[in-house]
């Protein structure tokens, strides 16, 4: 198979010359990564605007004529689906996975570059199908991102006709795209590591991306299965999920199906999906923390084990999304237990990040600010998860704003903090230039403080008992007037946070041309991606010869070494070896 050879090839590769092959039909993992990233950020901005519209309605009800109940539900649904699947999954794995895997493990490219290219084009197609649903009769589906039947495909829900069909079709295409990309990532990690790159020498970023990809490959089929079955229920009138029912006064032909079955399938995918997003973020933040604290990641082995353990456990906790779904209540015992067990490896990761800072030499650069911000938001979001995972506490809180606040904290804000940390951290590698630090810091402060101002109060709105997915609260006997004030303040914060992303966009675009040139390895990082002969790395990454790896990815501030970092491709010196052993014995 010829295409395998690129990863393996020892001689230098030359860039394709024509513009089309270089930037459009490119098989270079770095170009594909940027295509993935650009598309993901674009749809992410669409979803950000949708969330702004939602917040306007919630903060200032009865003020906006164009937001009616249907439109509101459509905004909610599209915002959720885009953010979870088309932004986070695509950007973390398709974007950073693509960019970093070959560079960090010392390969010239992915092992199946052609498949990799196809993966992006299928992803783009899925995005186009998804966005096209805004322009069809009835608009996009408004069934909530969970798409629960029966309502997702019945009259009475916005977009029950065209909208839901396009959504399911788009998801199916996305799954194909992800599978093509995912096969590449796992195979590349397993097969194309350079000389000396043992599994335990890989940076945690790679461990996170690798494990997340395996989860994705095994979890997305569940979504595909449910999408196929729901599509048939909708189009051909099968009764997989549809029981005998009377919709808006009309007796339909469905018999005997089980809506809860869909929920099981959906969450069998949906819960691992949380970790598909979280694990790469865990990995990347570990590397950012280590680099900018000039210290090895604390407890590397424990971190790897935690990633693997979380990945494994994530397949047996799904029904904690379904405590009040009407499933057999005895499941509650099992799933509450597994859910709280998963808190242990997760907590260990948090401790180890904090302990990495301890006795470090902390440079508060922009990526580091975001990384530390992540530890804060993730701790907060993780701890509120212990409320919802503990089955009885879920009774009063499920389907309220507490849930919304929790998952935005844990899988919205936290991974996005890491994404920003990662973009700023690797920006000099991708462009060869430094971003503007002032703009970066402004971006950090608005985002970090702003999101906390959004989500901390939102937990309390949920504790009051305000249900999610309500277009308007109206009057009730238990919600005080002041809750509306809180909602208005949340909206204001949300709009500020939304606008402050302009700092980021401006910075990214301005600095491509005007940023200060950085040259090699501006952060003094040890991992392999910073050791390429060219910055930004050229097609084929490594020039004439593949790098050779002699050490793990965290040799920061090694006692006795001249610099406070030793790149992975620097051979171990005699003195160092004896010095190291000396240290060990002492």
């Amino acid at each position: 198979m010829q295409h395998v050879a690129i990863a393996d090839q020892t001689e230098e590769l030359h860039d394709p010359h024509s513009f089309i092959t270089k930037y459009v039909w490119s098989q270079d993992h770095k170009v594909i990564a940027i295509q993935y990233g650009g598309t993901a950020i674009f749809v992410g901005l669409v979803a950000l605007v949708l969330s702004g519209l939602m917040r306007l309605q919630l903060g200032f009800p009865e003020s906006f004529d164009f937001i009616d109940p249907s439109a509101y539900l459509q905004f909610v649904t599209m915002h959720g689906m885009i953010m979870v699947i088309y932004l986070l999954t695509a950007l973390l794995l398709g974007g950073f996975g693509n960019y970093l895997i070959p560079l960090m493990i010392g390969a010239r490219d992915m092992v199946f570059p052609y498949l990799n290219m196809l993966s992006f084009w299928f992803y783009l197609l899925s995005v186009i199908i998804l966005l096209s649903s805004f322009f069809v009769p009835g608009g996009p589906t408004g069934a909530g991102w969970t798409l629960y039947p029966p309502q997702a495909i019945l009259e009475g829900t916005p977009g029950y006709d065209w909208g839901i069909i396009l959504m399911l079709a788009s998801l199916a295409v996305f799954i194909i795209a992800f599978t093509m990309g995912g096969l590449n990532y796992v195979t590349t990690v397993l097969q194309a590591r350079t000389h000396g790159m043992t599994l335990m020498r890989m940076p945690l970023t790679i461990w996170g991306i690798f494990t997340a990809t395996v989860l994705g490959l095994l979890a997305f089929p569940a979504l595909l299965v449910s999408a196929i079955m729901m599509m048939l229920d909708k189009l051909i009138g099968t009764s997989f999920f549809m029981p005998a029912l009377v919709s808006l006064g009309e007796n339909l032909d469905y018999t005997g199906g089980s809506p809860v079955l869909f929920q099981h399938l959906f969450w069998f995918f949906g819960h691992p999906e949380v970790y598909i997003v979280a694990l790469p973020a865990f990995g990347m933040v570990s590397d950012v923390l280590a680099t900018h604290a000039r210290k090895n990641i604390f407890g590397y082995r424990m971190m790897v084990w935690a990633i693997v353990a979380i990945g494994g456990l994530s397949f047996i906790v799904w029904a904690h999304h379904m405590y009040v779904s009407g499933m057999h209540p005895a499941f509650g015992f099992f799933f509450a237990t597994t859910t709280l067990i998963i808190a242990v490896p997760t907590a260990i990761k948090v401790y180890n990040w904090v302990l990495t800072l301890w006795q470090g030499n902390i440079h508060l650069t922009v990526p580091m600010l975001f990384a530390i911000g992540f530890i804060f938001t993730f701790t907060h979001g993780g701890l509120t998860g212990l409320f919802l995972g503990n089955v009885v506490i879920d009774l009063p809180l499920s389907d309220t704003y507490f849930v919304v606040a929790h998952f935005h904290m844990v899988m919205g804000v936290s991974p996005i903090m890491v994404l920003f940390a990662a973009i700023y951290h690797w920006y000099p590698l991708m462009t060869g230039r430094m971003f503007n630090v002032t703009l970066g810091k402004l971006h950090f402060w608005f985002t970090f403080l702003g999101t906390y101002a959004i989500y901390l109060p939102m937990h309390y709105i949920g504790i009051l008992g305000v249900p999610r997915r309500y277009f308007a609260m109206g009057t009730t006997d238990f919600i005080p007037e002041s809750a509306q004030t809180l909602n208005a303040s949340i909206t204001v914060s949300a709009l500020i946070v939304g606008m402050s992303q302009l700092f980021f966009l401006a910075n990214v675009f301005w600095s491509i041309r005007n940023g200060e040139k950085t040259g090699h390895n501006p952060w003094g990082a040890t991992s392999l991606e910073w050791q390429t002969p060219d910055v930004p790395p050229k097609h084929g990454n490594w020039g004439k010869e593949l790098p050779r790896v002699y050490r793990w990815a965290y040799d920061y501030s090694v006692p006795g070494a001249k610099e406070d970092f030793i790149p992975q491709n620097h051979p171990v010196t005699k003195e160092e070896q004896t010095g190291g052993e000396h240290e060990e014995k002492a």
Binding site: M1, V4, A5, A7, D8, V111, F112, T179, G182, L183, V186, T187, T188, Q191, A192, R193, H195, G196, M197, T198, L199, M200, R201, L217, L218, P221, A222, L224, V225, I228, M229, L232, I236, G237, T238, S239, F240, D253, T255, G256, G257, S258, L261, L265, N296, Y300, R301, V304, W305, V308, V549, Y550, R551, W552, Y554, D555, V572, Q577, G580, E584
Partner: protein, 227 residues
């Protein structure tokens, strides 16, 4: 288990480091990547069918479910047609194996005979499955009349799609070998295709067993899964 041993390595330890430098210098095996990818594909496809089967068992416990075998008027009580189709698929699988063995021993002509008969029987299988669909349709077993029927059509359709995917890849392999004029490189990719064909045969046998199960068997299986 070596993976546990690997996970216990201390990568910062000088001795482990020296060992690592020594070990991982092996050149990359070009077939290795494809083999790993194939294993993942088979795992993914297995998960896909497994999830369908689990939902099948779960769905079978609702009162409106009427399995396709067990009563004289139900189509798969007499599974002769299914046995014929299974036979065709098994021949395709054997032909692939024959082609592979011939390619390995550098009997190019025999290899071509093997591959072409595998393709022939695979397509014949697909046509036979289509005919089976029409047969069921003629009997009035439509897609939406009963969940058991829905599952039958969905599962056979998915299996057929995977078969077609395999045919496309096989065509690509053959074409490339022929185009490159390097028949000696045929056996590697052919090995993977053959594995995939056997895998599809295995999947089909499981589906076959499931679809022709009597209600008692299905209920017993469902009970084992806790439905």
């Amino acid at each position: 288990m070596s993976i546990f041993k690997t996970l216990r390595e201390k990568p910062w330890d000088a001795q482990v480091a020296a060992a690592g430098n020594a070990v991982a210098v092996a050149p990359i095996d070009p077939q290795g990547a494809a083999r790993i990818a194939l294993r993942f594909i088979m795992a993914i496809v297995s998960v896909l069918f497994l999830l369908f089967i689990i939902t099948f068992l779960s769905r079978s416990q609702y009162p409106d479910f009427q399995s396709l075998a067990g009563q004289p008027w139900q189509p798969f009580t007499d599974p002769t047609r299914l046995w014929i189709n299974t036979g065709i698929l098994a021949i395709a699988s054997l032909a692939m194996q024959f082609g592979l063995a011939s390619a390995r021993s550098a009997h190019l002509n025999r290899a071509i005979v093997g591959i072409s008969s595998a393709v022939f029987f695979s397509i014949l299988f697909l046509l036979a499955q289509l005919d089976l669909w029409q047969h069921l349709y003629a009997l009035g077993f439509y897609v939406n009349t009963n969940p058991a029927n829905s599952y039958f059509y969905v599962l056979t359709a998915l299996h057929g799609l995977h078969m077609m995917g395999g045919l496309i890849v096989l065509a690509n392999v053959v074409f490339r070998v022929w185009y490159d004029g390097s028949p000696e490189s045929l056996s590697g990719p052919l090995q993977l295709c053959t594995t995939y064909w056997h895998f599809l045969l295995g999947v089909w046998l499981v589906l076959f067993a499931l679809l022709t199960s009597r209600p008692e068997t299905i209920n017993a299986l469902a009970a084992m899964c806790g439905f």
